[in-house]
Amino acid sequence: MATIAEKASISGGEFLIKETEASQIFIPEEFNEEQQMIADTCRDFLRTEVWPILDEIDYAKSPELISSLMDKAGELGLLGTAVPEEYGGFGMNFNTSMLVAEVLGNGHSFSVAQSAHTGIGTLPIVYYGNEEQKQKYLPKLSSGEWKAAYCLTEPDSGSDANSGKTKAELTADGKFYKINGQKMWITNGGFADLFIVFAKIDDDKNLTCFIVEKTFGGITMNEPEKKMGIKGSDTRQIFFNDCMVPAENMLSDRQNGFKIAVNILNIGRIKLGIAAVGGSKGIVNHATNYANERKQFGISIGRFGAIKHKLAEMATRIWVSESACYRAGQNIDDLIDVLKAEGLSDENAKLKALEQFAIECAILKVHGSEVLDYAADEGVQVYGGMGFSADAPMDRAYRDSRINRIFEGTNEINRLLIVDMMLKRAMKGELDLMGPATAVAKEIMSIPDFGALDNDTAFAAEKKVLQNLKKAALMIAGAAVQKFMMKLSHEQEILMNVADMIIEIYAAESALLRLEKLVGIRGKEAVSLQNDMVQVYLQEAVAKCNNAGREAIMSFAEGDELRVMLMGLKRFTKIEPMNTKDARRRIADAMLAEGKYIF
């Protein structure tokens, strides 16, 4: 067993410049019996309480229905996994709460309600509440007796979250803050008993956060929004008219609200990533089963290569995303342990750890939500006309999937953040990007390294591919920084390209490390399909990085520089060819034999 300090040897974003050992990562195959039992409970809950009434949840227009499901989830303890035991929760570690999020992620509108309540609704108090606030609110929230909503977005303040106009004004006697303003898109708004509200005091530059009970008065709302998907999730516009909030209900300090919002969204992002994995697994299960049952031209459509391709591709992306999510989750858990051992309080350790891995959280949000959209889209396709029918499950999956690229920070905002955070850390000297980037710049001017692979290393060729992809990303990011300096933020297209490369690198590397660890546990033979998935994904990652890299280079380099960089990119995006068709067929055939996702 590695000591905690050894395990927490990597910092956020460092994967781009540092190798990770397979033994250092956590893989979901390592969940223990108790964690699996928790996952089973979540699954059983969906099976018995949620899935049988999905239509009712979406179309009955009854917020009470979702609210009553939340009550039942609360009775099972599913709303308190991340709340410390002394406040009525179960104080589970981060990866266990990720597992809960994954399984419940297949619950459509219910998932959204549950995750808004347990995440953005409850966690601000867990992390920033003072003792009194925690004692007062957390037991009610973790049991589900009270439901929570999170009010950040406003009609004119979405992605630009710190620009909200909602005001808080201290009353003359200093006892209350009077809140006035309008919030929009508030999940659980219709039935929430407690609102986490962001507002500006006087002419403050930054937001301040408040805990607002519904009964404080001055809160009105519109009818639920009519939405494309997650129709059963209650989303409201909420108006605060002289809502009188006791002064002691300010959460954390004045003007600390934006920071709270950002940090809470961090958690929301990684959880969204893993919830998307859960949702995707649901889709691929349906699709595999349908591919077995539906016959055309006298055979099951699952016997057609075109369909096999889709099933294998869905499975591969899901497996990869999942690998990355639990890898990051464990990094967070490990750092929490280290920081606690160093004397930090539980909540501060958690906050710091999550902040440290904010880059990974943003990566996982984007990757997970895009895998889910891919799975939903191809899921519809596998179902053909039935995919378009509201009587089959793909219709809901397709509509519900789409929101994930929008909330918790749009995928554009998250892509920008990935690069922005990396560069900021480099400037602060926390992440040594400059050294490796300069080395790469030198390397592309010299003769290519034809050095033989170290055959003693497991997956040496694959690791080399990843090292090279990292070089490609560093080469382009480094050159772009040099070219644009402080004006780089105006070159969003290039930032998007670089983000895409970074995302693919993290995802592919996580999957490779998981495979390597699995080989160690189960032997090569037993994980040959996982090997197929990793090999296929690596091919795709290389192609994507090549494409994104080319786009980026062509966007700013000219003449010799352009040529040298394109040559460099070519050198860094090399991979041994393989028969991806056959690999995908093997993956799909194994799933079709079982009629489900089997990894």
Partner: protein, 244 residues
């Protein structure tokens, strides 16, 4: 009241069954095991009875160490302690013998289990246990209420239901809707690991060994015969299906 609930560990009902070693060994690789679905009903009702009027629920499983996840799940659902008789549950008589031995020592008021397991579906263990202990056994019990020393039960019989009363102790084979399956809650899961799980050695020897398995023949294609053509149906039943 002291209740003993006997649970089996069986492959998940959606499992694909296969055999190895020239069809002599049941292939457990990759299969998920669960508490026998009927046993799960028995357990759920036992836990409810305990919640209503106090007492203890002990779960008993005859099985190897591999079944412990199912035993701990039963503890998470609400049993107080568990006993595992460390042996393969090779046949109904052997399992019943183990249960009877444990039951003799424990002085239980109720010995509950599913009407049958969902792997071999013999459905006779409760009857044999009753015989061995010299107490009445009933199956399949769909409703159970306890009033002092009396059990009031509803049992399924051919074409209807039978309402019965009997005094404790009793052995019961249970089925739905005696209770609704319970999903272990978070608190239960976390306390399960602190509850005692005692492993005891088996007594007696198993009487059977399996010489071979075979799969039921694959379902043939479905032939549709128009209603007005009953003659050809009879013909097919005679010549093809050979059931007439």
């Amino acid at each position: 009241m002291k209740i003993l609930v006997c649970i089996s560990s069986v492959p998940d009902t959606t499992s694909k069954i296969s055999f190895t070693d020239s069809e002599t060994v049941f292939n457990k690789a990759g299969l998920q095991f669960i508490i026998g679905p009927y046993d799960d009903y028995a357990l759920a009702r036992a836990v409810e009875l305990k919640e209503q009027s106090g007492g203890t629920v002990t779960v008993l499983n005859v099985g190897t160490v591999e079944t412990e996840p199912q035993i701990r799940k039963a503890l998470a659902i609400g049993a107080d302690d568990a006993i595992r008789v460390d042996a393969e549950p090779t046949d109904s008589y052997f399992v019943a013998e183990q249960i009877a031995n444990i039951a003799k020592e424990g002085n239980y008021d109720l010995i509950m289990m599913g009407r049958e397991t969902t792997d071999y579906n013999s459905g006779v263990v409760h009857g044999i246990v009753g015989e061995m202990l010299g107490i009445p056994s009933f199956s399949p019990v769909m409703e159970l209420n306890i009033d002092g020393n009396q059990a009031k039960m509803t049992r399924e019989i051919e074409g209807g239901k039978e309402k019965l009363e009997a005094s404790l102790p009793l052995v019961l084979g249970c089925q739905e809707p005696i209770a609704e399956w319970k999903i272990p809650n978070m608190r239960g899961i976390m306390t399960a690991r602190t509850k005692p799980l005692n492993v005891v050695a088996p007594s007696g020897d198993s009487l059977t060994s399996i010489s071979a398995y075979s799969m039921p023949p694959a379902k043939g294609a479905c032939k549709m015969i128009p209603a007005e053509d009953a003659g050809s149906l009879i013909n097919l039943l005679r010549t093809e299906a050979k059931v007439l």
